[in-house]
Symmetry: C2
Subunit: 247 residues, 2 copies
């Protein structure tokens, strides 16, 4: 029983507002250099807020498509317009939920737009460039830990949400073991492992949604941390034309 992971929530951060220096807020609760093999998993919501990726609903004028979808789904046309503004494609519209492909290529309910943990009358969108946000945060933290920016995504055939990596830096996001062999010497089939998503999921187990603990330290990831930033969570996104399961 050597090695292993340690997963620990950092102390709560203050409420984050646009223009805040998120790295400075994290350094204030964790001044020591992060150890080698560590990843810092950060809820996207504090990244979005610091970057100003929030929308005041009073400033949004819904267009005809938003009105039409809102009527069909029983939703607020203003919120639907915010979702449409974040989306390149509506993948599904059903049972009160819009599943969208965002401009980044992420497929998420409501394009990741969320009205919780934000002031009333506002909603939070996803960061414009989550891999870029992860790289910038990493470079501003002592010891340059890997950084994962996480959000909760639903899954088509399973109840409940699980955290996934929407951005990352300094971590092998997708471990491609195709061509590796099993204990019997047979080639492993279709073995690409979504490391960054699993790190995001592990981190979620140590914090509550309403706890104000958006940052979680995962230690023991030496197998997957890298000196360079690497290709990031972009490597986890299937392009629309590679979509195995969709319409």
């Amino acid at each position: 029983m050597t090695g292993g992971l340690q997963v620990t929530a950092l102390p709560p951060l203050p409420e984050v507002v646009p223009g805040d220096d998120l790295a400075a807020l994290i350094r204030a609760v964790h001044p020591a250099p992060f150890p080698s093999g560590a990843a810092l998993v950060v809820s996207h919501k504090v990244v979005s807020k610091a970057e100003g990726a929030i929308v005041r609903l009073a400033d949004v004028v819904p267009g005809p498509r938003a009105h039409e979808l809102a009527a069909a789904l029983g939703k607020d046309p203003v919120v639907v317009q915010v979702v449409l503004d974040q989306s390149s494609e509506i993948v599904r519209a059903r049972r009160g939920v819009l599943i969208c492909r965002t401009h980044h290529g992420l497929v998420a309910a409501h394009a990741g737009v969320d009205g919780s943990n934000v002031d009333e009358g506002w909603c939070v969108t996803l960061p414009a460039d989550p891999d870029g946000s992860a790289r910038a945060l990493r470079d501003a933290l002592p010891g340059r830990p890997a950084v994962v920016i996480a959000d909760s995504f639903g899954r088509p055939w399973r109840h409940g949400q699980a955290e996934v990596a929407i951005g990352c830096a300094g971590l092998v996001a997708l471990d491609d073991q195709r061509g590796a062999r099993d204990r019997q010497g047979q080639e492993l089939q279709a073995t690409q492992i979504a490391i960054a998503d699993q790190v995001a999921a592990a981190a979620d187990l140590v914090r509550g949604k309403a706890s104000g603990q958006p940052a979680v330290l995962v230690g023991g990831l030496q197998r997957w941390t890298t000196a360079e930033h690497g290709p990031g969570a972009a490597s986890l996104r299937r392009a629309a034309d590679e979509d195995l399961f969709g319409a």
Copy 2:
């Protein structure tokens, strides 16, 4: 930084064969009682093998539907017949992959049928009743840890596989926080968290596919471990008619 999780692979188990007492094999590498708040995550493959959920391909006679699908997908009709035998429905058949709903209601590539880490000429199927297997294993381990039986599943819009819980006992598989409030006092939206899937994902980070370490101990889950076995991983499966994303 109190609390937190510790994730550690147990020492390797010997090769598991039908009729093996899996609990005895685990007790041999971990004789001490498991601590409170611990979950033991076990790869389904050793559970399937111990239970004899393996198929000798030489015994399988493919029917017309298997021949037809195999020709369309460029696959072995014998393997396709094994997949069909495990399935109640073909959800997708495309790009060489069959996405199936199993008789348990799990949606998985090839219905979870796998030819790696098994003798040539055989394949492994999913356990017949993974929640029942988890309960039986739990009752046979000292300290009655929570038990999660895990498998790697692909995801529609993301590259790479992530581990999910196909069976569990003694753990809140799905944490339903609907109705809970955020820090601003607003109700959280759509917040059901797939705890057991995230525990399975965390465990996967400490073992390699070919390492012979099918059992991983996750400590620090007191928030979600329960005295009773509970509803198990069945609570994570969406019924076909609840499928938000599918056809």
